[in-house]
Point group: C2
Chain length 335, copies 2
């Protein structure tokens, strides 16, 4: 086949397959409005080779917070529920927990004592439930837990309480050559067992908080043991650090929902060329939750969206997504 | 176009383009022999969908050490040369270095005093040359240095002193659906400015040692400042830890050249299914360098290949690549 005909044939192949599989309208769960337009407009500008804002595929990096941005985080972080349920499951092996805080508070469902234990207490719960086993064993524990645990209000597995509009956004960005990353304050090994199946994000594109690991030979086989010692907190100023450490490039688009994502968005925004920064605002107490305290919504310690973050978003041209107004569907339909 | 014809047409398209670009013989710089066969045999087994050892594309992870595996590491690590040359360049701003070890040793080219400074002294040199600037500034410093520095023996840029057979191996693996990673004891931000251009490995697939970073707002712009504090040493038992942290999957193939790669190969080997572990053995003093002390070759502190590593390789079925016998070319031809 001569070169000339090859080109013709290639063009024909493209036409046929483009015709055979017409692209469906992107982002169906997004209502028409400023948020949806901002996404589509941004993607068109950076993917059009003739645009002055064109971004090569290799540099199309998009980073997403997880809790409250991709999946539900209220009434408390899923990982915290996991930690408390693990403590209950492990309690028979730790009779001393019956009289030791913060374990006693968990075993007795004593919210006041739990709150009083503060961050230090929380850390003890996390270490007791997340360390002391191999990475392989931890993966099994998490996978088993996610398969059976149910959200207290929605009575569905946590992996189904992901935001349908954000799943569509992830897919839309990937279809346009973006590499999508998670960059969460949550534990990296708590997320990895589910991110590929739930979000289409492979483990190597998940960045999160971590505890230290130790390589050991056990019964002649190498294992990585999880140690009760913080390695890295991927939150607030830690997010740009984690992004730089894992990716080594600055994202061109970042998505968050709380004060913990502020520096990630600032870091993304500070690059040259087209940029997209968006924040999910939880203002939908009917279909999901409403919290702030921005917009005069109830205060929360889980996913705080402060008035000063709202102010920075407005002054900086970051797009605030109204869950109530911008999304015509929150969760995927039940199976 | 009816569905039936579409399938036929798709098959035709595939045939035409497969025919239009015949695959050239892979690995031309590798002599026929056990090493080359081991590579091709492994790739065929894991990519053949009908093979019991088939590995899905998502799990085709291959990790490569850098110093001594992908590029030259003698007479001393390139990054150490960089550190010493940076100290010389910065000396006018640090008059106290004239009389302070280990800086004095560098400024006076005093190898004995330098050796006497030991690891602690080395660390001081690295911190003085690698910390105290933003990540963006460090990238510029490294890029500029690599553009002008020349290897003392070969008189070529370090980025040209990469092993041609390994470049072919990287390309061959990628052509077969592998994701290729660097996992080096060297500094992650020392490597990233050159890995995409030199190896075809993007920054997000580079794992290495690191110092801590701090997010700061300077003149209203966010920057990541490099701090004089070790964050992670990606060597020996650190390599499996780094692999797990960054990739979250176990590699199916690993390539190293020294005792620092032993645990990475053990970790790779301990997975189920087909595995390929290979070690470059520097036994070519004519075209490159010869060092061990395995095989009775000269001892070295740079890229030690100990007799016990050789024994483990032989007992475990790891393939030892003889630079002298397996490679018909060491470096790419000069431009």
């Amino acid at each position: 086949m001569k070169k000339h005909y090859q080109h013709l044939f290639a063009a024909l192949c493209l036409l046929v397959f483009a015709g055979a599989a017409p692209a469906s309208e992107p982002l169906p769960s997004w209502n028409d409005g400023a948020s949806k337009s901002a996404i589509i407009d941004f993607v068109m500008r950076v993917t059009d080779v003739d645009s002055p804002e064109f971004v090569p595929v290799a540099e199309r990096i998009a980073t997403f917070d997880n809790d409250g941005t991709l999946w539900v985080e209220h009434p408390i972080y899923t990982q915290l529920t996991f930690a408390m349920e693990r403590v209950k499951a492990l309690a028979p092996q730790h009779p001393e927990w019956k009289t030791t805080q913060p374990f006693q508070a968990v075993l007795e469902n004593d919210q006041k004592a739990l709150a009083a234990a503060g961050e230090k207490g929380l850390l003890e719960l996390v270490m007791a439930s997340h360390a002391g086993m191999s990475t392989a064993d931890f993966e099994t524990i998490v996978t088993d837990w996610l398969a059976t645990a149910r959200h207290p209000r929605f009575k569905r597995p946590y992996t189904e309480l992901v935001y349908q509009p954000m799943l569509e956004l992830l897919a839309y960005l990937r279809a346009n050559g973006f590499k999508t990353y998670i960059t969460s304050g949550g534990g990296i090994e708590f997320m990895r067992p589910m991110t590929e199946k739930v979000y289409g994000i492979p483990p190597e594109q998940v960045i999160g908080s971590s505890i230290k690991m130790k390589f050991e030979i056990v019964d002649g086989k190498p294992v990585l043991m999880r140690l009760p010692e913080i390695n890295f907190i991927d939150d607030k100023t830690g997010k740009p650090v984690g992004i730089n450490q894992f990716i080594g490039r600055r994202p061109v688009a970042s998505f968050g929902n709380s004060d913990g994502d502020r520096q990630m968005l600032e870091w993304t925004a500070a690059g040259s060329g087209a940029r997209l920064m968006m924040l999910v605002f939880h203002d939908d107490g009917v279909r999901e939750y409403a919290y702030g305290p921005a917009g005069g919504q109830p205060e929360t310690k889980i996913g705080t969206f402060s008035p000063s973050l709202m102010k920075e978003a407005q002054e900086s041209g970051w797009v605030v997504i109204s869950m109530k107004d911008d999304w015509n569907q929150v969760f995927p339909p039940e199976d």
